[in-house]
C-alpha cells in the first residue's frame, strides 16, 4: 500500500513540477548551475570509468577467443556492441545514480531539514519547480556525457588492444566497422534520455518528501540510489524488449 502511495505521490510531484514556473532569469541561472554540478562535474568519473572498462571488455573478449576460426576483428566488434548498447547508457547510469542521485537527494533533503523548502513555499514559490525542474532540464544534456563515455570506452579498448598486443589496430578498427547498425546508437540515446529523467526525479522525490534530521538524509540518499538503480534496470529491460526485441 505504501509503495502505491509513493508511486502516486511521485507522479503528482512530476505534474506539480511543471506548474507555476519560476521567473526565467532565475531559472536560467539554476539550470546552468545544475549543468555544472550534475553534468560537467561528472565528466571526469564517466571518462575514467569508460576508458578503463572499455579496455577490460577488450582484454576479456580477446582472452576468451581461443578458437583460430573466430576472426580477431571480433574483439573490436564485441567492444563496440558492449559499450554502445549496454555499458555506456546503462552501467554508467547506475554509477551516476550513486554520484548524481545521492547529491540530489542529500542537497534537497538538507533543504527540507533546514526549512529552506518551507522558506520557498512561504514566499509563494513553487519549490518543486524551483528545485526539481532545473535538474531535469540539466540532465537532458546527460546523453552528451554518455556519448563521450561511448567514445572513450571504444578508445580504451583500442589502447588495450594495441598496447597489450591482443589484436592489431587494423583488426580492431575493422571490428568496429563490421555490421554497424546506426539504430543501435539511436536506441542507446533514447534509453539515456529516459534514464536521465529517472536520475533527476527519483532522487529528488526521496529528498523532497523525506522527514526527520541528518540521519534520515543519509538514509534517503541510500534509498534513492537503490530505487533509481532498480527502476533503471527495469526500464532497460522494457525498452530493450520494445526497441530491439
Amino acid at each position: 500500500m505504501r509503495y502505491l502511495h509513493n508511486i502516486g505521490t511521485y507522479f503528482l510531484m512530476i505534474a506539480e513540477m511543471f506548474r507555476k514556473p519560476t521567473k526565467w532569469s532565475v531559472m536560467r541561472t539554476l539550470i546552468l548551475k545544475d549543468i555544472d554540478d550534475l553534468i560537467i562535474g561528472s565528466l571526469g568519473i564517466i571518462a575514467f570509468i569508460s576508458f578503463f572498462v572499455g579496455g577490460v571488455v577488450t582484454i576479456q573478449t580477446a582472452l576468451n577467443i581461443e578458437n583460430p576460426l573466430i576472426p580477431r576483428y571480433l574483439v573490436g566488434f564485441a567492444t563496440r556492441q558492449s559499450v554502445i548498447l549496454e555499458f555506456a547508457p546503462t552501467f554508467t547510469s547506475i554509477i551516476m545514480a550513486g554520484k548524481v542521485g545521492s547529491f540530489i537527494t542529500s542537497s534537497i533533503g538538507t533543504m527540507r531539514v533546514t526549512e529552506q523548502i518551507d522558506a520557498l513555499e512561504v514566499m509563494g514559490i513553487n519549490s518543486l519547480n524551483y528545485l526539481v525542474f532545473p535538474k531535469t532540464i540539466a540532465l537532458m544534456l546527460y546523453p552528451f556525457a554518455i556519448a563521450i563515455g561511448m567514445f572513450l570506452g571504444i578508445l580504451g579498448g583500442m589502447a588495450a588492444c594495441v598496447f597489450g598486443g591482443y589484436t592489431s589496430l587494423e583488426d580492431y578498427i575493422l571490428g568496429l566497422q563490421t555490421d554497424f547498425d546506426g539504430f543501435h546508437v539511436t536506441y542507446s540515446f533514447i534509453k539515456t534520455y529516459v534514464f536521465a529523467f529517472v536520475l533527476a526525479t527519483i532522487p529528488s522525490f526521496h529528498g523532497y518528501y523525506m522527514k526527520g534530521g541528518a540521519l534520515e538524509v543519509g538514509k534517503a540518499s541510500t534509498t534513492a540510489f537503490v530505487w533509481t538503480a532498480v527502476v533503471i534496470i527495469l526500464l532497460n529491460y522494457i525498452l530493450t524488449g520494445m526497441m530491439l526485441g
Partner: protein
C-alpha cells in the same frame, strides 16, 4: 489586521487546534506563547498557509485566505516575510544573495537597485560588512539578522517569526527582540512571533496569545500578564523563582 476565527486543525485522529479565535494588529509585536505541544507551530503554519485547516477562517486585511485564487495567494505571500527557527538561509548563496532573493523573484529591479536595497536592509540589521560571507561562516545571531533582513527586504505587510531567539545567548536574544520591535514600529507591519522565551514575552509582548492544548487559554499584553490571576498562565510564565520574584516586586510597586 489578521483575524483568525474558530480555527480547527487535525492530523488524523489528533485534533491539534480546537477552535482558536484572535486578531493581530498593525504596528504591534504579537506573541503566541505556550508549552511545547500546545499547537503554536501548527497555528503559525496555518497562518502562513503551509497547513490547510478543516474549519474556521483566517483573513489578511479583510481577504479570507481560503477563498483566494492561487494567483491571489501568491500575491499575498509576496507580502509576507518569515524568520524561521533555524534561519533557513539558502546555504548555496552568500548573505547578500540571500537578502536579494525575494527581490530577484518578485520585482523587476535592476541588479544595482537590488544591491542598494540589500545594502540598506543589511545596514538596518547592523550587518554592514557581511555581504559576501556564506551563511555557514556566520554566527547564530548573524544568521538570525540576515533572516530578518531577507524577511523585510521586499517591504512586507506581515512578518512572522518562529522562535527567533532559540539557540542564542541572552544578550543577542534581546538585540534580536529589540530589532524586530523597532522594525515593526518603523514600517508599521503586523508581526506575529512564536515564542516560549519569557524574556521576549516581558520585553516585546505588546499582544500575547497563550495557547494550551490547542485552545486559547488567555490573551493580553506584557503589562497585563503581571496582573493576571489565570493560573494556567501564571504556572507557565512564572514557573521560575526569578520570575515569581519579579512579578511579586512589580505587583508590590504598582499596588
Amino acid at each position: 489586521m489578521i483575524v483568525v476565527e474558530n480555527l480547527h486543525k487535525s492530523f488524523g485522529e489528533a485534533e491539534i487546534l480546537k477552535g482558536i479565535s484572535t486578531s493581530f494588529e498593525k504596528g504591534k509585536t504579537n506573541l503566541i506563547i505556550g508549552q511545547s505541544g500546545s499547537g503554536k507551530t501548527v497555528f503559525l503554519k496555518c497562518l502562513l498557509g503551509l497547513f490547510t485547516y478543516e474549519e474556521g477562517t483566517i483573513s489578511y486585511d479583510g481577504k479570507i485566505f481560503s477563498q483566494l485564487t492561487e494567483g491571489q495567494k501568491r500575491d499575498l505571500r509576496a507580502e509576507i516575510g518569515m524568520v524561521f527557527q533555524g534561519s533557513a538561509l539558502f546555504d548555496s548563496m552568500t548573505i547578500v544573495e540571500n537578502v536579494m532573493f525575494p527581490l530577484r523573484m518578485f520585482t523587476k529591479m535592476s541588479k544595482s537597485e537590488m544591491e542598494d536595497r540589500a545594502d540598506f536592509v543589511l545596514k538596518r540589521v547592523n550587518l554592514p560588512d557581511a555581504h559576501h560571507k556564506m551563511p555557514s561562516e556566520a554566527s547564530g545571531g548573524m544568521q538570525k539578522r540576515v533572516a530578518i533582513a531577507r524577511a523585510i527586504v521586499n517591504n512586507p505587510k506581515y512578518l512572522f517569526c518562529d522562535e527567533p531567539n532559540s539557540g542564542l545567548d541572552p544578550k543577542t536574544a534581546i538585540v534580536i527582540d529589540n530589532l524586530i520591535q523597532e522594525i515593526t514600529d518603523e514600517y508599521q507591519i503586523i508581526t506575529v512571533i512564536n515564542s516560549h522565551d519569557m524574556n521576549s514575552v516581558m520585553e516585546i509582548g505588546e499582544k500575547i496569545v497563550f495557547l494550551k492544548n490547542g485552545l486559547k487559554a488567555w490573551e493580553g499584553s506584557n503589562k497585563t500578564i503581571f496582573k493576571t490571576d489565570n493560573e494556567i498562565v501564571t504556572d507557565f510564565v512564572y514557573s521560575s523563582n526569578l520570575f515569581k520574584k519579579v512579578r511579586k516586586m512589580y505587583l508590590e510597586e504598582n499596588e
